[in-house]
């Protein structure tokens, strides 16, 4: 198996606190990898490191065989890595379609003078990007609200739009940070279907959440993090049966619940 993304001994220190320690994992092309763990386990930091939002203290990130460690986000987007954010992040004052167009920036920007003079090349790129965005809006059911302000959409739609913004750059790998946080059960099921459909387009997915039930119905493999480090990795069934996972994650949680 050749890995699409290969993370080796990733380490991140914030002052005296080690947020991520010696983290290694691979993601195969077309896979849905879940990253799970209790709050503070370092899941979001791990995604921030891979997506370039913060640089790692040490370690290595390889994407399609190329060392991309420490590259800033806009460079990684160009290579096909995008991510969404935990809190819904959309441009609230802009229309849904404009949000999508901004996500398609890389496929849209023809160069300084080309855009200034709106050359044929610039117009062609804009037409292509518009087609990509319109197709995504249609595909994920936001065409009807395309001209509405993003901020006026219900929460679930805003989450979908966040995904459209990420998908508009035509990524190979999309990383979703808690895509169902704050959503009800029905909406969560909808998001799960959406993620599967995204994978159906050949896009590899890394998804963060702490809800094991949601994850086990979605992911091919699950990476369990605990205190910044990798605790276990495997299919949801394997991981759920792992004594270390039960003790550190589920066990603790159950114990805490029982205590109240």
């Amino acid at each position: 198996m050749t890995a699409l993304l290969s993370v080796t001994s990733l380490h991140r220190q914030f002052g005296g606190l080690t947020a991520v320690r010696d983290l290694s994992f691979d993601v195969a092309e077309g896979e849905i990898l879940g990253v799970i763990g209790p709050n503070g386990a370092g899941k979001t930091t791990a995604i921030n490191l891979v997506s370039g939002v913060i640089p790692p203290t040490s370690g290595r990130v390889e994407f399609r065989g190329e060392d991309v460690t420490g590259l800033p986000p806009h460079r990684l987007v160009g290579r096909g890595i995008v991510r969404t954010f935990q809190s819904t992040t959309v441009y609230g004052d802009r229309t849904v379609r404009e949000n999508g167009m901004r996500g398609a920036y890389l496929g849209l920007y023809p160069g300084f003078f080309a855009t200034l003079f709106d050359t044929a090349h610039a117009r062609r790129m804009r037409a292509e990007a518009t087609a990509v965005v319109d197709e995504l809006l249609d595909w994920l059911g936001l065409t009807e609200v395309a001209e509405d302000k993003a901020g006026s959409l219900p929460y679930g739609h805003q989450k979908t739009l966040g995904m459209i913004i990420a998908l508009a750059s035509r990524p190979r790998l999309i990383m979703l940070d808690e895509p169902v946080a704050g959503l009800g059960g029905g909406d969560a099921d909808h998001v799960r279907d959406t993620i599967k459909r995204v994978r159906g387009r050949g896009i590899t997915v890394i998804v963060i959440d702490h809800n094991m039930r949601f994850m086990s119905g979605l992911c091919d493999r699950v990476l369990v993090m605990h205190q910044g480090a990798r605790l276990a990795v495997g299919t949801p069934q394997q991981v759920l049966a792992d004594p270390a996972v039960i003790e550190a994650y589920l066990g603790k949680r159950h114990a805490a619940l029982a205590g109240h």
Partner: protein, 326 residues
């Protein structure tokens, strides 16, 4: 920030037609003014308005990236001195002076931009304020070049013909159309889309592939270069440059012009310039109260129109539409 797209006066991104037609009509009317009014004072005021409009619009460009510079007049001064020295010391033509007026502040902005544009909000404001003061001190202290606090006198007009106020009126109008037109075009292009994205959510923009810092530095350098040209036009217009003309007070004026007019569309600084320069002239009848009245009006505008004067136009249009609709 309040709602951007509420304002129908917005130079809507990638929209052609109407804004362009309105702009063309305004320019046509302005071009006719010297044919109707021969008053030297009015024509000179016109030149001042156009030059200030260029400066205010160039600051608007920088503000659109989310950074309010309190050192913009310093770059204007650098442009003014660069042009004046190029013409008077090197004996080169005015065109070379204008080129120097663009390049000098632009290069300086490229040098400091990568550092200062990492700062946000009040920290950027403070650092640009200090930078403006440093530049002013250099103007004062570097006497052999800048003439110190006395400045430089006897600056020639760009060409003998421009001794005529009407000719200078056309020169500054032409420069205004060109430079403000350039800024409008830039803001309506994909660069403008990226600028707005960065201001509204830097994190999201960065993760959509927009090279945030490079964009900010580029725009900052362009804005500083353009205000340098405004400085050159001003220096050769009033025939005199000195450090106080480019102090923090002048930087603050440019910010106020933007705030008064509205910071969400390019129309804002243009309307603001008109208001800021014309209103005091209209209050000349009340010399003792002029500044007080002007100050009170400024406060009223800021208190009731957070989106600037442009918002007033927007509200009026909405009202008209609602009446027409019902």
């Amino acid at each position: 920030m309040t709602d951007a797209s509420l304002s129908p006066l917005a130079l809507a991104p990638r929209a052609g037609g109407r804004p362009l037609a309105i702009a063309a009509a305004v320019v046509a009317v302005l071009a006719l003014v010297p044919l109707v009014i021969a008053d030297k004072f009015i024509l000179s005021l016109g030149s001042t308005v156009f030059i200030t409009a260029i400066a205010a619009a160039s600051l608007h460009l920088i503000i659109r990236t989310g950074h309010i510079s309190l050192g913009h007049a310093a770059f204007m001064g650098i442009g003014a001195y660069a042009s004046v020295l190029t013409v008077m010391e090197l004996g080169l033509p005015f065109a070379a002076g204008v080129l120097a007026a663009f390049v000098a502040p632009c290069l300086l902005a490229l040098a400091i931009g990568p550092l200062v544009l990492r700062l946000t909000g009040k920290y950027f404001v403070l650092v640009t304020f200090l930078f403006g003061e440093i530049v002013r001190m250099v103007f004062v202290e570097w006497k052999s070049v800048t003439g110190g606090a006395n400045g430089i006198f006897g600056i020639p007009a760009p060409a003998p013909v421009f001794n005529d106020p009407a000719a200078y009126y056309y020169l500054s109008l032409g420069a205004g159309v060109l430079l403000v037109g350039f800024i409008a075009r830039l803001l309506a292009s994909e660069v403008g889309r990226a600028i707005d994205a960065v201001r509204e959510s830097e994190r999201l923009a960065h993760c959509s592939g927009i090279p945030v810092l490079r964009l900010k530095v580029t725009i900052f350098a362009l804005g500083c270069g353009i205000v340098g040209i405004a400085g050159a036009l001003q220096g050769h217009f009033i025939r005199y440059v000195d450090p106080t003309s480019y102090s923090v007070v002048q930087s603050l004026n440019l910010v106020v012009v933007n705030v008064i007019g509205g910071m969400q569309t390019l129309v804002g600084p243009l309307v603001g310039t008109l208001f800021y320069l014309i209103l005091p002239e209209m209050l000349r009848g009340y010399v003792e109260l002029q500044r007080i009245i002007f100050g009170i009006i400024l406060i009223i505008v800021m208190a009731f129109l957070p989106g600037g004067l442009v918002e007033l136009g927007g509200r009026a249009l909405q009202l008209v539409r609602r009446r027409a609709g019902s």
